[in-house]
């Protein structure tokens, strides 16, 4: 080798080239990584604690997506470990060691190996690209037939309007469905873009102003399934929750009948006082079927007393929470269009009695 002026010895002598205490640092890093790994299985095992988990699908559509996802994640985990092991081996095997002088072989490439790499990757790509297409067809094939339920989900800042066009029911934030029946959802928005998803029941679609997008969900078992808005939609994006309440088909029939004949007459003096307050302030924006209240800015409040949650799903529907909400909506939902009317304690008590009495 014609090394006249350049001298590898010179660089080797620079002390700062060398990693001091490398083993200690490797042990520390390895320990931390192991601790992180050890901490994750219990997290994943207790899925029931996570109402929006993707790991416990509860319907056909969600299951198809879950199976594609699980296969993908297993595949990449496998690839990651193989590639990491090879990388780690090369990094350790070919590290510079004291006393190793001379030049490493100056290979600039190897046509056979390079073409092989391209080929392996292209085959891997085809496998990876084809596999999840099955789930795409499941998601995209809308169930046909009359036994499916049709629902419209309309995004508002920051709540969901839910309409059953064939059943003549309008409600908000809580979507009641029968189990074992596909639910066709058409979604749009009246203001900005929202995105509706109940993760355990299936994937999401965006709610776009000026457009309708369609998808479907289905639940196997009765229960409450949590979801929320997934597209940044303003100050209270985080407070725009939604839930699906799945009933057995018989219970769903009962719910539909009850909702079609709502009980909207106040039964106590307190509630009657509340009705008066409602007419004077709330009715501008809210509708209650069977009364003169026909506002459309805010959610339809028919059968409010049967709701499980309020404020776009962020609070349980209890008299205390409702009073808190009426006293200052913006404290619970920043930017909420619902004004603070500075209602007195008596007015709030009346409203609570009236609203909770709506069945």
């Amino acid at each position: 080798m014609a090394l006249t002026k350049w001298d590898p010895e010179r660089s080797r002598k620079r002390r700062w080239f060398y990693v001091r205490g490398a083993r200690t640092r490797r042990l520390l890093a390895g320990g931390a990584a192991l601790a992180a790994l050890a901490a994750s299985p219990p997290v994943l095992a207790q899925e029931v604690r996570y109402p929006q988990t993707l790991l416990k699908p509860a319907g056909d559509q969600a299951r198809a997506l879950y199976e594609a996802m699980a296969w993908d994640i297993e595949f990449i985990t496998f690839v990651f470990f193989i590639v990491s092991l090879i990388t780690a081996f090369i990094l350790i095997r070919f590290k510079h060691r004291d006393g190793e002088d001379g030049l490493p072989p100056q290979a600039t490439g190897n046509l056979r190996w390079e073409l092989g790499a391209w080929l392996v990757l292209i085959v891997g790509l085809i496998v990876m690209a084809l596999h999840p297409l099955k789930a795409e067809t499941v998601f995209a094939s809308m169930p046909k037939g009359d036994d499916a339920i049709d629902v419209q989900v309309i995004g508002h800042q920051w709540w969901w309007e839910i309409r059953y066009p064939k059943l003549g029911i309008v409600t908000a934030n809580e979507l009641h469905i029968p189990t074992g029946t596909p639910v066709r959802i058409a979604t749009t928005s009246v203001d900005v873009i929202h995105s509706f998803e109940i993760p355990r029941l299936g994937g999401k679609n965006d709610s776009l102003p000026g457009r309708w997008t369609k998808f479907w969900i289905e639940a196997d078992e009765p229960g409450i399934y949590q979801g929320q808005c997934f597209e940044l939609c303003g100050a209270s994006h985080a407070r725009m929750l939604a839930r699906v309440i799945a009933h057995t088909p018989a219970d769903f029939e009962a719910w539909v009948r009850a909702r079609q004949n709502p009980q909207s007459q106040p039964e106590s003096d307190l509630a009657r006082a509340g009705e008066q307050t409602f007419k004077a302030t709330c009715a501008l924006c809210h509708t209650i079927d069977g009364t003169a209240a026909k506002g459309t800015i805010g959610p339809n409040l028919t059968a409010f007393g049967t709701r499980t949650s309020i404020g776009g799903g962020v609070l349980a529907n209890t008299p205390e929470n409702l009073a808190k909400w009426l006293a200052d909506p913006a404290a619970i939902k920043p930017g909420s269009k619902m004004p603070n009317y500075n209602l007195s304690k008596e007015q709030i008590d009346g409203l609570v009695a009236y609203l909770m009495g709506l069945k």
Binding site: M1, A2, T4, K5, R14, W16, Y18, R20, A29, E47, Y50, P51, L55, L65, I73, I76, V79, F80, V83, I86, L91, F94, R97, L103, P104, A107, T108, G109, W113, A117, W118, I122, L125, A135, E136, V138, F139, A140, D191, V192, S195, E197, G203, K204, L208, R211, W212, T213, F215, Q228, C229, F230, E231, L232, A235, H237, A238, R239, V314, G335
Partner: protein
């Protein structure tokens, strides 16, 4: 000898004409401009980092009240906008600006004054975007600025105007810089250096620049449309007026996804250079690298709708983009083979740059592989706008892009400043950053699997994401400590003044290591003659370790004992100032200010055209002659 300087009637100077503080404004030297970019980028990185810490503070506990929902959305939007357009981008242009022209044996870029104007556009763009905090509130519609949330109706404030004006200036800067680099690479390589002999980084610069020019246009047009919607009441994006909200998403992502590669390719470039240098081997598979870069440049155009799987486009459309997206992972993954082939049989020295490069490899594996999962349109129905995505793209953005760029920054630091880094400070900083990074973003992948949406300012205790978010927040503060240690290491190297030699690491293979550190004003006292695939390495192997100069009659920039230098100019600064004033005119909006700024821009351009910019002769230092 060559033509005498006097004959051309240009001044001959003993010292450079752009020294001192005023010189920082009037300079057209690609190296000074590169350092300005780097300094600006690191400054905005700190701003965006503080915003990230605020996000993590707010999310550390459920129902936390550190900041409100409105402020959270502002911080979130500014974090994304600042990091992408005003931190990552200037750090990349800074590195490229300093290193690339020297690597290809040029004395400057093709258009030195345009280069400086690009810098002013970027600086003032960043200033305008951040000034919105003090002008009625920063933008809060997300860095992707989806209409109608970003429309005049839902974001009436100055913040969105500031986003449009500031980012538009940032994009203008990127476009001008890219044009400059493409011309420089195609026209100004040293004698003997063919395209297939260029150092890898030059290839990456070329494709990054081509992508930036072409992909930038749709986005700039989209922003122009939105400006018109906001200022003049047109309805490109308003459904009520016959417009379409999806038009913005298409235009934005036609830019937005190539943008990922615009940021990633430079990081791949740095890692390729660093691994090759410290393994003591040429980059393995140079032709594969060129093929992979070019393939990325083409395929990144057919992936944009993977950001839009949930807009209801239908299965055939989605499937086409699934295939495009997975296809682009092939050339990206080729780099894994290239790096492993480079390391194979080498003698890798674990210096600080190598630490960052090796960390980048592993994080890039995770970032890329997790991306393959959400590239499936079906699976993405669950992951879209979910924390999995946040985890995934931060593994690419920090683990891939930032670590890669830090490998490059620490590698070329001695060249750019002339001082060696103290690795005893740098390496602990690396480990803190590395561990903090993984602690922050690995839990976010799990949060995604547990159904947590992104961009939420709070969550309920019963949703079950509290523990993971707390860990993530601790990790974020560790990263901050790591960055502080890195900045300390950089400052320490300048203060303690350990002089770097020309071949500072002793492992240099390309031209930048053949000239003193820091590079002299004229880069090369005599233009080097490139005689091999790796210019300097060839001379180390087959010559005396020094570059051979080209004959004087071939060296058109050299006259006698002097080198022809471009004239410093204040005109880029004048144009930049005009753009700043006009920009604020658009933000407020204030017509008078906008017109005044426009007039200054026009005057600057006029002065630019008329000034004497024939340059001067700088006498070469004796020891470099």
């Amino acid at each position: 000898m060559a033509v005498a300087a006097e004959k051309l009637d240009l001044p001959v100077r003993q010292t450079r004409a752009d020294s001192g503080l005023l010189g920082l404004i009037s300079t057209v030297d690609h190296k000074k401009i590169g350092l300005l970019y780097l300094f600006t980028g690191i400054l905005f990185l700190v701003v965006g980092g503080i915003e990230a810490l605020l996000i993590r503070l707010q999310l550390a506990r459920p129902l936390n009240t550190v900041i409100t929902g409105e402020t959270y959305n502002q911080v979130l939007t500014q974090h994304g906008t600042v990091m992408i357009f005003f931190a990552a981008t200037p750090i990349i242009w800074g590195l490229f600006n300093y290193v690339m022209p020297i690597m290809i044996g040029a004395r400057d870029v093709a258009f030195p004054r345009l280069n400086m104007m690009s810098y002013w556009c970027l600086l003032w763009g960043g200033v305008i975007v951040n000034a919105a905090w003090f002008l009625g509130g920063a933008v809060d519609a997300g860095w992707f600025a989806y209409v109608p949330l970003s429309s005049a109706q839902f974001s009436p404030g100055e913040g969105m105007n500031a986003y449009l004006v500031g980012v538009q200036l940032g994009m203008l800067s990127t476009m001008l810089t890219s044009i400059n680099f493409v011309v420089t690479i195609l026209k100004m390589r040293a004698p003997g250096m063919g395209l297939m002999n260029m150092p890898p980084l030059a290839w990456f610069t070329l494709m990054t620049s081509i992508l930036a020019i072409t992909a930038g246009i749709p986005f700039m047009v989209a922003m122009l449309f939105l400006m018109m919607d906001r200022w003049f009441g047109t309805s490109f994006f308003a459904p009520g007026g016959g417009g379409d909200v999806l038009l913005w998403q298409h235009l934005f992502w036609i830019f937005g996804h190539p943008e990922v590669y615009i940021l990633l390719l430079p990081a791949l470039a740095c890692v390729s250079e660093v691994l090759s240098a410290f393994a003591g081997k040429p980059l393995f598979g140079y032709k594969s690298m060129v093929a992979a870069i070019s393939t990325i440049g083409i395929l990144s155009w057919i992936v944009w709708m993977h950001h839009m799987y949930t807009v209801g486009a239908g299965s055939p459309t989605n499937t086409a983009f699934v295939i495009g997206t997975k296809a682009v992972s092939v050339p990206a993954a080729i780099f894994v083979f290239i790096w492993l082939g480079t390391l194979w049989g080498g003698r890798l020295r674990y210096t600080l740059p190598v630490h960052y490069a090796v960390a980048m490899m592993f994080e890039f594996y995770i970032g890329g592989l997790t991306g393959l999962v959400n590239a499936s349109s079906s699976v993405d129905r669950q992951f879209q706008d979910n924390m999995w995505i946040v985890g995934h793209f931060h593994f690419v953005a920090i683990g891939g892009i930032v670590f890669g760029l830090l490998a490059g920054l620490t590698y070329w630091w001695p060249k750019m400043t002339g001082f060696m880094l103290n690795e005893a400070i740098g390496k602990p900083g690396f480990w803190v950053l590395f561990l903090g990074f993984n602690l922050t973003f690995a839990p976010q992948l799990v949060e995604g699997l547990l159904g947590m949406p992104r961009r939420v300012y709070t969550y309920l205790p019963e949703q079950g994401w509290a523990g993971l978010n707390a860990v993530s927040s601790i990790g974020a503060f560790m990263q901050a400590v790591g960055i502080v240690i890195l900045v300390i290491a950089l400052l320490e190297s300048v203060l303690s003044r350990r002089r770097a030699t020309a071949d500072a690491w002793g492992v240099g293979r390309s031209l930048e290591w053949s000239i003193p550190s820091p590079a002299p004003a004229y880069n090369f006292a005599r233009l080097p003659l490139v005689r091999g695939h790796e210019a300097l390495w060839h001379e180390k192997m087959h010559g005396d370790g020094k570059m051979q100069p080209v004959p004087d009659e071939e060296d058109h920039g050299r006259h006698g004992n002097a080198v022809h230098m471009p004239s410093p100019s204040f005109m880029p600064a004048v144009v930049g100032l005009g753009l700043l004033v006009a920009g604020f005119g658009g933000v407020l909006p204030n017509v008078t200010l906008a017109i005044a700024g426009g007039v200054v821009v026009a005057l600057g351009i006029l002065g630019w055209a008329l000034e004497d910019a024939r340059g001067y002769y700088l006498v070469v230092k004796e020891e470099e002659a």
